[in-house]
Symmetry: C2
DNA sequence: CATTATATGGTGCGACTGTTTCAAGAACGG
DNA sequence: CCGTTCTTGAAACAGTCGCACCATATAATG
């Protein structure tokens, strides 16, 4: 007996906290401003998530979940060519709407360089792409279990995202992807 | 008259502070632990640098200076081929001794995504490579002022560094660079 | 009503942060 | 010696941080 628990509240808080982190970044995240922006209290955040660390972990998981869903919605199930697939990924990832996700992605990576213990499944964020990409690029790959081609393809994407987020030069980065497509085609 | 100033002290402090930041990262940097590790006091750090912000700026400038010097020492003045040049850059940047610099590089980029105003010359860290790289890759480039090929080349390097620092998989990243060289060659 | 469980506000603790203030020490010239 | 300038220590200030403790409110069962 007693008052029944309300798991929906935690979920709603998590969703809005994820919005907040995507908007403001992870680096300076603090419970009190976050709580105020969410119309709740630091007390409740700790009540729901146990600690700040666990809250952050939940937010990152939620952000990953959202990103995966959106990507799955966007990419064609079977692209006509590797080039088309690659252009699709670049168009999706470099779109301004994805900027908050990209920033969070780079923030997590940078923090993971100093505190790897906090992000145990970070490598999986890279290797997880291999099955999908390996299939999409099998024409230009070296075999069914080729991880090298996906590695290079994602390196180009991430490297160009790094450039784009730093310089803001969309034209030049777009052209660089064109050039990579050209190299792949030959 | 009066006691003469001692500019050497500031320089020595800056050098050792740069060591410290390279070793411990920029994210959690705090004056008191830094001062203690340097055998000085927060009071003196502020006396010498004015504020934490200015100290950080000085440390980043010093780190850039060191990196540039080391790279200039390592790279051959004129490589036999673009491929050899590219392999030289990758070997140098991915070497374990460069890990502290690479981490600092990624940390600055990530922080710059949230606080661009703090890093006014960040774009120059990317575009500054173009003259040098454009010359080295003129055989495979599109012209004398080609910025697209250098953009792609550095994107591959940075993207693979991202992968390497996350997964630690040197073999796979080395192979991916081989693959990129192969694409360039054809 | 009482009981029992969850939900929530308020308050404060201890440890940090960058920075300032005040005072004293240390090295020079006259 | 004095005066001047640079250097340095100790302490405090005002703020933030995550988090814990305690009381109370709320909603269910009996």
């Amino acid at each position: 007996m007693g008052r029944p628990p309300d798991p929906a509240r935690r979920e709603a808080t998590l969703a809005r906290a994820t919005d907040y982190v995507l908007a403001h970044g992870l680096t300076g995240l603090s419970l009190r401003p976050l709580a105020e922006a969410l119309g709740t209290s630091p007390r409740m955040l700790l009540y729901d998530f146990g600690s700040k660390q666990e809250l952050v972990a939940a937010v990152l998981a939620e952000a990953r979940r959202r990103g995966a869903v959106r990507l799955a919605e966007h990419l064609p199930a079977r692209a006509a060519s590797p080039e088309e697939y690659l252009r699709g990924i670049w168009a999706w990832m470099s779109a301004p709407e994805r900027a908050p996700f990209v920033r969070l992605f780079f923030e997590v990576h940078a923090d993971g360089l100093t505190h790897p213990e906090n992000y145990p499944d970070q490598a999986e964020a890279i290797t997880g792409w291999f099955p999908t990409l390996g299939a999409a690029f099998r024409e230009v790959g070296t075999g069914p279990d080729d991880t090298v081609t996906p590695t290079l393809v994602m390196a180009v994407i991430r490297g160009l995202l790094f450039d784009l987020t730093t310089t803001g030069d969309r034209h030049r980065t777009d052209l660089a992807l064109d050039r990579f497509c050209e190299l792949l085609r030959r």
